[in-house]
């Protein structure tokens, strides 16, 4: 494992963006989502989900790519693994599903880096913790966040119903209200990396 970790970040302008068919959310409310999670848990056991931190730079400050649903809710690209699916392969699958054009000759070669955070869901509720709480032997979900190293040029095709935003770390830091506890702590979890900001 490389412990002296350097991440190359390229300007937002070196990437191009198009659209593709909408990817609707499977659930229309939080309650529905938790109910579906419970059903899946009974069939398959603990859910493992993987999410990607894609970094670009603007004005020499790192920015993370987030998908915005509707007017306010932001999430990282990623999602639930199939039972027995390898985490890295699953994350590549989810990234292509959310951000790659459909044609087979335009698939980005996703470079998955280190895992920077793991969050645990002890019950069928929205709350998650960065450790498995004491006395919880059967967590319902484990979510892992991975840094993804983008190459200098990529083409992203974003589903029509979603917006892709590049949000600076200083905007995410401590902003639990707007981005939730997982995304708002990413700046600290990236602080051990050295960012090599490649100019335009």
């Amino acid at each position: 494992m490389v412990t002296s970790s350097i991440v190359n970040t390229y300007p937002l302008s070196s990437y191009s963006f198009g659209t593709k068919e909408p990817k609707m959310e499977k659930d229309t409310s939080v309650a529905d989502r938790l109910a579906r999670m419970k059903l899946n848990y009974m069939k398959e056991g603990m859910r493992t989900s993987v999410e990607a931190i894609l970094l670009v730079q603007e004005h020499n400050h790192p920015h993370i790519l987030l998908l915005q649903i509707g007017n306010t809710f932001c999430k990282l690209p990623g999602g639930r693994l199939k039972p027995g699916e390898n985490e890295i392969e699953g994350l590549k699958r989810k990234l292509s599903s959310k951000l790659a054009a459909n044609s087979p000759n335009m698939q980005p070669n996703w470079q998955i880096g280190e895992c920077v955070a793991v969050w645990w869901r002890p019950n069928f509720e929205t709350i998650m913790y960065p450790y498995c709480p004491p006395h919880i032997s059967k967590p319902k979900e484990c979510k892992k966040l991975y840094v993804v190293h983008l190459s200098e040029r990529e083409y992203f095709a974003v589903p029509k119903n979603l917006k892709l935003l590049a949000v600076p770390l200083f905007e995410l830091y401590d902003n639990v209200q707007r981005y939730g506890p997982v995304i708002s702590t990413i700046p600290q979890q990236l602080s051990r990396f050295q960012f090599n900001m490649i100019p335009a």
Partner: protein, 212 residues
């Protein structure tokens, strides 16, 4: 320049992220004479830090994240000075001193007999987080100042692995506490952003509680 490569394509990349911790009861604690702290006014401190900055550049502090197990939950070792000042064991690097050497020196000073500096083995593992201050009186942030200004101070947190047992010798004017991770999380008012953020920095490790 090192590039992060794709490692072996097995789903589990956590093999080298397993971290053993031992029960609090396997460690021994005694005390030694009080450490003297600089007793100066805020204005004096500001002047001292500024003149150090002019002479040597950015102030770098290194701090240790040391864990033990209690009640089947990881606990962080913290030093308490006076009633409400909590600190991680560590301190400022001397000019030209490496992070690891400086941290070992500070750990021996705060947690061992001083004469023992060259004998104590401290196993310093990786850096888990970095905080920067753009000025001495401002708050620390986990990224370089976005203004492009040079930071005045940098604090690096290092994970330190304990052996299965050892003696801790703590200065009389400090208390050594073991605080559960679940208490640190979301207790920013009590412990500050750096200490209360440690559970999120440790989340990627698989903490193996040995012998519990």
């Amino acid at each position: 320049m090192e590039i992060i490569n794709e490692r072996m394509n097995n789903g589990d990349r956590s093999g080298n992220l397993v971290f053993d911790i031992y029960p609090l009861s396997s460690y021994y604690f005694s005390s030694k004479p009080a450490l003297s702290f600089k007793d100066e006014t805020l204005a004096d401190r500001a002047r001292r830090l500024k003149s150090n900055y002019d002479a040597h550049g950015m102030r770098t502090c290194v701090e240790a994240v040391i864990l033990v197990e209690l009640f089947k939950h990881p606990h962080l070792l913290l030093l308490q000075a006076k009633n409400c000042i909590y600190k991680l064991p560590g301190g400022r690097l001397r000019p030209g001193e490496s992070d690891v050497d400086g941290l070992k020196r500070k750990l021996s000073s705060k947690l061992s007999a001083d004469e023992d500096y060259y004998q104590t083995q401290w196993e310093v593992r990786e850096c888990i987080g970095t905080w920067w201050k753009s000025d001495f009186e401002t708050l620390p942030y986990p990224y370089l100042p976005s203004s492009g200004k040079n930071p005045k101070e940098c604090t690096k947190l290092y994970l330190v692995k304990l052996p299965s047992s050892r003696d801790f010798i703590v200065p009389k004017n400090l208390k050594l506490l073991a605080v559960p991770m679940c208490q640190l999380h979301e207790s920013r008012k009590t412990y500050g952003s750096i200490i209360s953020g440690i559970p999120q920095l440790l989340s990627r490790f698989s903490i193996n509680m040995v012998g519990s």
